[in-house]
């Protein structure tokens, strides 16, 4: 369990990541017992496997020319699955664009995800995901929104409610990140800031991104309790997020977690990481793969033998395919919808634009 002593021990200035299991999935401290039941741990493993399968298939669909673009999640799933468990229905999820497992846990369907990356705005509806903002592609723009939501929770005196906001390592260099942290601290907003430090802002390595010794340390300047966590350690992430949420809903304000991880895949399907990083580096991080480590834990502690994994993946694939086909059969987005939802009555300029676009589609010059 995390307490003040843990926070002192892992003070960001010491530049040491909070970690519970090693690269093989064995607990570092033999006396440690996870918060989750064996059944919950097994389910988490299946969720992680599902996220990875869906992710790989999404890349494959894109390579088949069936989807516009896609940002792979591979290597970062422990963060998403742990957050998915900790995030409650009444909590707000403020995404960046690489948190697939957390979105699925919130109720986003794969069909919606695929629609979004096929360029159809209907994919942003998230019909079954309560309290989730749209995917934010501009970097860190979502952070001030998260703080606003946290402020509203306090203002409305909502009980047992927190905000989970995501950003990448590159986002910590944006002004929005710092403004958000400042206001969250000043307003004591119940916001859990999760920095997925996957080592690259597209192709810019962390070393060229910041002179800070780590990213958690950036929270200290705003007097926000901050913790650097091994983001590929499912248990460490679950523990840190649980603690952060407990603090937030107890009125202790924001919490910042730097989840140290590695983007095993490309930035998006238009990117080729072999151009800017070494095989050795990739192999080093492959040893720390979150799926491998959680699987190791389950096997070592004899929770399950995981013998039906192939069957499991087969079933996943069938489901994922059917979701993708549903997205492919979804009606195309209509021009009226582009103009339809902002004004009760369309202003003249927008009328002109709409008319011009309709003419364009009809081939009138």
């Amino acid at each position: 369990m995390i307490d003040q002593k843990t926070l002192n021990k892992y003070d960001p200035i010491k530049n040491k990541a909070y970690q519970l299991i090693d690269d093989e999935g064995k607990p570092l401290d033999k006396t440690w017992k996870p918060r989750l039941s064996n059944a919950e741990i097994l389910q988490a493993y299946k969720d992680l496997l599902f996220e990875r399968t869906a992710d790989l298939m999404a890349v494959s669909y894109q390579r088949q020319g069936r989807m516009f673009t896609y940002p792979p999640n591979i290597g970062q799933e422990a963060i998403h699955i742990a957050a998915g468990i900790v995030t409650k229905e009444q909590d707000w999820l403020v995404p960046a664009f690489r948190e697939l497992g957390a979105w699925l846990a919130k109720g986003v369907s794969l069909k919606e995800l695929f629609l979004y990356f096929k360029g159809n705005e209907d994919g942003s509806r998230f019909e079954k995901a309560n309290r989730m903002l749209p995917i934010a592609v501009p970097i860190a723009s979502q952070f001030p929104h998260a703080v606003g939501l946290g402020y509203a929770i306090n203002y409305n005196k909502e009980k047992d409610t927190a905000v989970f906001a995501y950003v990448g390592d590159g986002g910590t260099s944006e002004g929005d990140f710092h403004e958000a942290l400042n206001f969250a601290a000043v307003w004591n907003a119940p916001v859990i800031f999760i920095i997925q430090n996957n080592q690259f802002a597209i192709s810019v390595p962390l070393k060229m991104q910041t002179k800070s010794i780590n990213l958690a340390i950036k929270g200290l300047a705003y007097n926000i309790p901050s913790l650097m966590v091994d983001g590929n350690d499912f248990f460490a992430m679950h523990e840190a997020l649980s603690y952060a949420r407990e603090q937030a809903v107890a009125g202790k304000g924001p919490f910042l977690i730097e989840a140290k991880t590695y983007r095993t895949g490309a930035h998006t399907t238009s990117d080729d990481p072999s151009k800017y990083r070494s095989k050795e580096e990739e192999e080093h991080w492959a040893q720390k793969d979150p799926l491998k480590r959680l699987k190791g834990y389950i096997l070592h502690s004899k929770i399950d033998e995981l013998k039906d994994e192939e069957e499991l993946i087969k079933g996943f694939k069938k489901h994922i395919d059917s979701e993708f086909e549903a997205a492919e059969n979804h009606p195309e987005y209509k021009v009226e919808d582009v103009f339809g939802y902002m004004y009760a009555e369309l202003p003249d300029e927008l009328k002109r634009q709409k008319n011009a676009y309709e003419n364009y589609l009809r081939g009138v010059k």
């Binding site: 069936r66 096929k118 238009s270």
Partner: protein
Amino acid sequence: MRYIFKFPDIGEGLEEGKIIEWYVKKGQSIESGDALVKMETDKVVTDIPSPKSGILAVLYGGVGDTVKVGSALVEIDIPGVEGEAAVAQAKDQPEAPSQETVDEKDFAGVVGTMEIAGDGAYLPSGDEGRPAKADAPKTRKALATPVARAMAKDYGIDINEVTGTGPAGRIMKKDIEGHSKGSASVNIHVPMPKASSAERTRIEPLTQIRKTIAKNMLRSKQSTAHMSIMDEVEVSALVEGRARLNEALAEKGIRLSYLPFIIKAITLALKDHPILNAELDMENERIIYKNYYNIGIAMDTPEGLVVPIIKDADTKSLIELADAIKDLMERSQERKLTLDDLRDGTFSITSYGSIGGYFGVPVIAYPQVAIFGIGRLTEKPIVKNHEIAIGQILPISMSVDHRIVDGAEVSRFLNQVLAYLKEPLLLLAYEGGTQ
């Protein structure tokens, strides 16, 4: 049923890819998602998985071959859909890969556009379901990005006449370049007049180059305050000097026209009158002086007027200028000018006199501020030492943008140019100097 899998744009704006390795063979059974081939593109090296399960019927291209985005990569026989069902399915689909497919069916997003390469690529086993190509409408809206359209415009090409080699016949940059060069790979369609003698009028649509010329001319006249000045200069010394020079250069096969001398005179004079090599930026209320001298030379081509430039003309010798003119002339006739040849001129020259005409009022190549016109060199009686003699008279005309070029300044400039032409040895006197 036969499914044609076309190489998709997997990188938000790719044109082609190179085959690195085939993972499959003809006749092999594959599942959707199985890797077919490893491709190298401008952005990534990646495996391309199959979108369908079935038997591989055709593989296009060998290792090292380049495959265009939108052209067929493999054909897959999908069992179970045959006969009428296949025909019906095919009828629902747009025609299979064809350059007549012109629907702009791409998904636009904040980071680019993508062709849906697999879309509509169904073919029945037989041919029943396919519309005959001859039915395709003759007039079509070209499939091209705004960038490509702008590029074609700059070249003075009607984009609808360019044959696209991109996905679904999309017109790519090199198609426009190819068209402009008139290479064998593209169709050059010159609209032929179709008038019968019975008709009193004949309707002919504007070519793109004509539209561009019209637009540019009107813009120049509407955006500037044209003012013109004309003069004559007696150039016997130049005529004689040029003849002697050509005699001396004859064994090297070099023959100079008058134009290199005139360009030399103008670039020298421009350095003393920088306002004539400037541009008026009204929006920001400033004048942009250019310390480089790219001289546009108006050229007559079968398609119409083009004004390619000689870059840094002030740094070139008379012989180099002659070479540059010759090169631009040849390439303008062969439609091989590139965009680079046509942009960023700072001053222009038109020598209408080579065809005919004494004085003219040339139109400024906006946003430049001056153009120099050369009329027909004519022998005329002149008064020399109180006697009538035969002179070699070169008539010249100049138009300037009176908004920033004052009359006095253009007269001073002109006097200097004419002095150089009257006594071409002066060109030597100033050549290479920094003042």
